[in-house]
Symmetry: C2
Subunit: 668 residues, 2 copies
Amino acid sequence: MSSAKRTKTNQDLQKERDGASFNPFSLTCLLHGGEDNVERKRELERLALDDPELQHEHLSFLSREERYTLGIKKTIRFINNCWELDINGIKDVNIYKTAVFRGMLEPLSVHYGMFLPTLLSQGTEVQQDKWFSQALNYAIIGTYAQTEMGHGTFLRGLETTATYDPKTEEFVLHSPTLSSAKWWPGGLGKSSNHALVLAQLYTQGQCYGMHPFIVQLRSTEDHTPLPGVTIGDIGPKFGFDEVDNGFLMMDHVRIPRENMLMKHSQVLPDGTYVKPANSKLAYGTMMLVRSYIVSDAAQSLCRACTIAVRYSCVRRQSEMKPGEPEPQVLDYQTQQYKLFPLLSAAYAFYFASHYMMDTYFQLSGNISQGDLSQLPEIHALSAGLKAFTTQVMSSGIDTCRMACGGHGYSHASGLPLLFANATAGCTYEGENTVMFLQTARYLVKCYGASKTNEKLSGTVAYLSRVQTAAVAGKGARSLLDLEELVGAYQHRAARLVGMAANQLQAQAKAGKSPEDTWNSCSVQLVKCAQAHCHFFMVRNFVDAVRTADVDPATRAVLNTLCQLYAIHGIIENSGDFLEDSYLSGQELQQVNSHLVSLLAKVRPDAVALVDAFDFPDEILQSVLGRYDGNVYENLYDWAKKSPLNKSQVHESYHKYLKPFLQQNKAKL
Amino acid sequence: MSSAKRTKTNQDLQKERDGASFNPFSLTCLLHGGEDNVERKRELERLALDDPELQHEHLSFLSREERYTLGIKKTIRFINNCWELDINGIKDVNIYKTAVFRGMLEPLSVHYGMFLPTLLSQGTEVQQDKWFSQALNYAIIGTYAQTEMGHGTFLRGLETTATYDPKTEEFVLHSPTLSSAKWWPGGLGKSSNHALVLAQLYTQGQCYGMHPFIVQLRSTEDHTPLPGVTIGDIGPKFGFDEVDNGFLMMDHVRIPRENMLMKHSQVLPDGTYVKPANSKLAYGTMMLVRSYIVSDAAQSLCRACTIAVRYSCVRRQSEMKPGEPEPQVLDYQTQQYKLFPLLSAAYAFYFASHYMMDTYFQLSGNISQGDLSQLPEIHALSAGLKAFTTQVMSSGIDTCRMACGGHGYSHASGLPLLFANATAGCTYEGENTVMFLQTARYLVKCYGASKTNEKLSGTVAYLSRVQTAAVAGKGARSLLDLEELVGAYQHRAARLVGMAANQLQAQAKAGKSPEDTWNSCSVQLVKCAQAHCHFFMVRNFVDAVRTADVDPATRAVLNTLCQLYAIHGIIENSGDFLEDSYLSGQELQQVNSHLVSLLAKVRPDAVALVDAFDFPDEILQSVLGRYDGNVYENLYDWAKKSPLNKSQVHESYHKYLKPFLQQNKAKL
């Protein structure tokens, strides 16, 4: 695909752009942190998109093996280019990488996403000298092997053992059962020659829990697995075709004592175990990863909205009024109801990812100065937001796909692949329900603390003001007022946290064990965590709109989106607001009318709002979502390239169909 | 996979089976219409599953071309076997087909699903003599070409023309624009040599709308496209890999006058158009297709539930109580909350599909006797139920997939493929939102009729008793009572239909055109159609439980499932019941407690409830959902067969990784 912006634009899309109430570039700058950043982003993107070495067929025309091979080829080109072109810094590297991979996944992402950072954060200086520079320069390739076939989120359940042998000063890494096989790590199956293996540490006859060990898996000469190492690909998945997620079984594999990462805990030569100073420090990386997931969720939803909104302006369907041309699909209220709330959520998530990143860096600063006080709050928030955003994003992409009708189901739309890859975010790095329950545990604890008059701060401060009694008859108020909306969400969250806490207390009083109590309230607990995250989203969106440095027209459209986000959430969860009469039935009717008005208000700006995300066509990888809107010509061109069209008459005709048809004809 | 029932069963699953409160076979018999039917079903399944010609690798290890070829091969074997083994009758053929294809789709399904029935229902006797026997005996292969690249649900928008030329007594079939290319028909791309083409009929200078024409596409000698015919595969899709959905463009292709199907409308040799006697007759096939979709949706959801429930008993995770073994995942309330309502929905849909089939056959009888009175009601119901069931099924499969954690994302689970194929049902044969709006149009019409004291009957009779005013203070009632629950859903549906109707009236009074009025109320209209379908589901489930000929233990478990289905729906849509105070906040709390009790009540019977669906392992195609529960061994065996494991060191290592690693090592 060449840059679409040079071709003649579909008239319908052009009209949409001409009719927008604001300049999308001002929003692009807001989302990307200023005009300079946008320029730099576009420059980096073009470097990758115009690179002749990075052109290839549409992914859905390739087999999995071809895609894996392409992934390796691109990875190498990407790394070499970063070195040669001096592309540095997380931000620039990520922008460049996104444009290099264009919707593909990276088989070696675990090397730079987990292997390198863990070496850095958990290796001693000596270990960093030995391993980190090799890894940073890709003289070795590593993965991070934690999850096992029979064990996921619950780390203490992992079975792989690392038993210290003081005689030889070695650890013996072993997989005692089939279910202890390491399973899922990206890059483990075929690509990596090293791994950080998480294993239960045994020394002097005692188990000290999970620790990370550097294990060489394959020969650096010919890449064959080392003795005792059984390794392979775990087979095809929903998405992630380019990634060789792998399995690993170790049969008494010996590694030197120095291969245990010892910055925090240590095993001395004689086998003595030395405890870590502070076990909470490891939370930092986890939070960074979750912040990235929130950011990825935002990006994926932005992509899906871009595709669906543009196509809905190009596609015309049915007859609204006799004799008039078929209307644009986006003129149907039902279509607006599917897409605009998701569009508003995409913005909400974008701003939430800004918040998470800012907070992470601020927190890292505090932690390095010894201040861990904010850690539990932000840890709980990051767990909840990871779950909240990936859940909405995953079902939202699916909604966008279906909103594109039949063509949404074609790989030409880009939406099936986007969904299959992005939905994995609901499961990896902490399954979403488990994440919500982590958040809930913190919320309930805070609620308890507030009852003993402990002062809460930050994103949970509102729990001090929990109001669980009914609050009917608040008098006239405008439910388009942003602070009023924030108040509604705050009330809902506080009420649901309070309810869950009281439920826990009641069950405990009735004599249930703490574990049974927790389990029997867990549906309610998940709900309160969701309400908390939803409140955070609305609060943060409102703050972002208020503090945004933009012109009045842009602020107006942001304001509308923010109202829509909050109003739609009330409608989708109306029971929560009606249950204690915080809203009356009559007010809910008003909320419904507001929704109708807001959909109509967003309509003329919808295309500009997705243009503002600033995805080049080559990154969107969607025939339906093209910037120029020339959908049908390109759909036909794309189809002609389908592998099944290589020959006019498919070989299966000669082998199967022809004899069958002739046999049947003869019988007539 | 060999029949799993012969291997030793996982202990956890065995315990579940031993502990069930009822015999699943009695439910199997209820679902399949008696013990004889179950025996016949199993016999037909074994015929297909044990056929050595029908064994093959796991689908996800094959490329799309291999899958298409396999699909053709299986189709031919299937047809030949039906002939040789004398498998006849829709029911038997469908059972046998399901076992032949085992989760694959059939490239020629449109031939027997649409081409044949349309020839039969719309061809004259002469045409049937000529075409039907050829098609029935597979001397020709046909598809049904209706949808165009630029036009889907709205038939009047289709652009393909068939212009009659009285000089030669031929029709000239033509695709005037790119967007008029036929697009999507199954089997069109590579397999079919004929098509029923739907085109705008022009004769004597006038357009008479859509009519069906038999067009030969490919040579019966060598399968090359005939002159003027441009044809091909539309490219890869989310699912349907085995199907060559195709495109077709015609450049003034001439066919004899006799190739227009003329049972209803005719074009005489001189070009005179003769109108059809009754245009409603065509609705019959549409309803049958929609009934099948409801039935397919039920089946797909049953499969997903079977996989997720069994795996959740085998999988153990986390620590509920210190020192105790990791609990089965199904013991977590959150897991139960994900799966059991879907399990209850699967049963509800099963019973709904029974209702639809019975009604279809009864209605067909009435129609053949000239009684069309029930047609509009059942037509509206079938549209709504098609949308309602596919929507719940599609998101439900996704929920089941995610409930299986990481392994659910692997193709070994069978869930990604099940989802990708089944979700298409939300879009084809009428996009779901369009379907709901069709239902809504009928409901609103009935509501209007009831205001003029017209008597309503059947599934809409309740609209005569619409009660839109608040009905607070109904006094004590048990919301576990099935009739009470039916009443709640009936009230909700009636209220929402009434509200939508009133809204339409108010807008019309305010001077809006009927089209704008309809559009501006359409979100509300969809909602009322959903509520109507939901009410039907609950009503029909309750009736099915009441009339089921089963032992008391089986009835008890059905009763619990039915309560759960209704109670869960109230919680998920609580706003609708609270808004007019039909339920009080306090009652909603009770409903929540009921839910908790019902989940616990279903728990010990969950495995028996999915066993009752009676899917052989080979049809489930899921390592996680195996009857014997031996998940981990089989997951490992499956992974080892992954194409990426053909060689220990992948070829991309030699080509890309090795030089890269050596280059980097040299630089250190």
